[in-house]
């Protein structure tokens, strides 16, 4: 899984990583680890537990190989959006049964308004909802393209 990070939504500073694991929890762990490494979190373990519990309320897979998760949390120091791409696909317990090939994680500090978190989530959803857009990102692994897409969708 490759992870591209965008901070804030329209920033083009990106980071790409490879992950060979196939489990959803491992991908969530990688998101949390990447955010923690950049100093965006406090109490990363609590945030990881939060993301896992969010999945218990219903999978955050939106179908067709796309998952969008996130948290509006006291564990988040600074807003972050991370996008991960998986070569083989991740088992995300999707309703349509398809493995997730592109997952995004939107982290918003609880200091900010909940409405802002909802708008950030909606912006990432809008930017990545089309399969052909996600396919372009998966194929090209281009942080600039991703940043451009998210920038256009920034509220």
């Amino acid at each position: 899984m490759a992870i591209a990070e965008v901070f804030p939504l329209h920033d083009s500073t990106l980071d790409l990583l490879e992950l060979r694991h196939r489990r959803r929890e491992t991908a969530l762990q990688q998101f949390v680890h990447a955010a923690a490494e950049r100093g965006a979190l406090r109490h990363a373990d609590v945030l990881f537990t939060h993301l896992v519990r969010r999945e218990r309320l219903g999978s955050t897979s939106l179908g067709r190989g796309f998952a969008l998760t996130g948290a509006w949390s006291l564990c988040v120091r600074s807003p972050r959006v991370m996008v991960g791409v998986s070569e083989r696909g991740l088992d995300w317990e999707a309703a349509d049964g398809q493995p997730v090939t592109l997952a995004a994680c939107v982290l918003t500090p609880a200091d900010a308004s909940e409405d802002w978190h909802a708008r950030r989530l909606a912006a990432v959803h809008a930017a990545l909802r089309l399969q052909r857009t996600r396919q372009r990102i998966t194929d090209r692994r281009d942080p600039v393209l991703l940043a451009q897409l998210l920038h256009e969708a920034t509220p």
Partner: protein, 113 residues
Amino acid sequence: MSIALEFLELHELDQLLVHARDPERSALWRRMGYVIASPVPLVRERERLAERLDRRWLSLYERSLGRYGSGLSAVRQRVCLGCRLRLPTASAPPPGEAHLHLCEGCGRLLLWD
């Protein structure tokens, strides 16, 4: 895990449950395409988590949760982010220690940075 972090975990879980139970918020999730499952397993998990916590602090936490929708508030630069009260310097825990305190303004448990 320190008592402050245990309450942080409870707070995060409660916020998820607030979302799941709120018709407006869960409708927003559904509009985005999420399928929302029953919150019952998380409610049970909350019960198990709450059982481990100190009853006195839990009672104070739940009182604020009922009143404001959150029982815990972060502190930034000695300001309670729940009610914006500036807290006295003496109320800050020593660096590296996670003690529980109550906000003198709103009564929420405080999570110091």
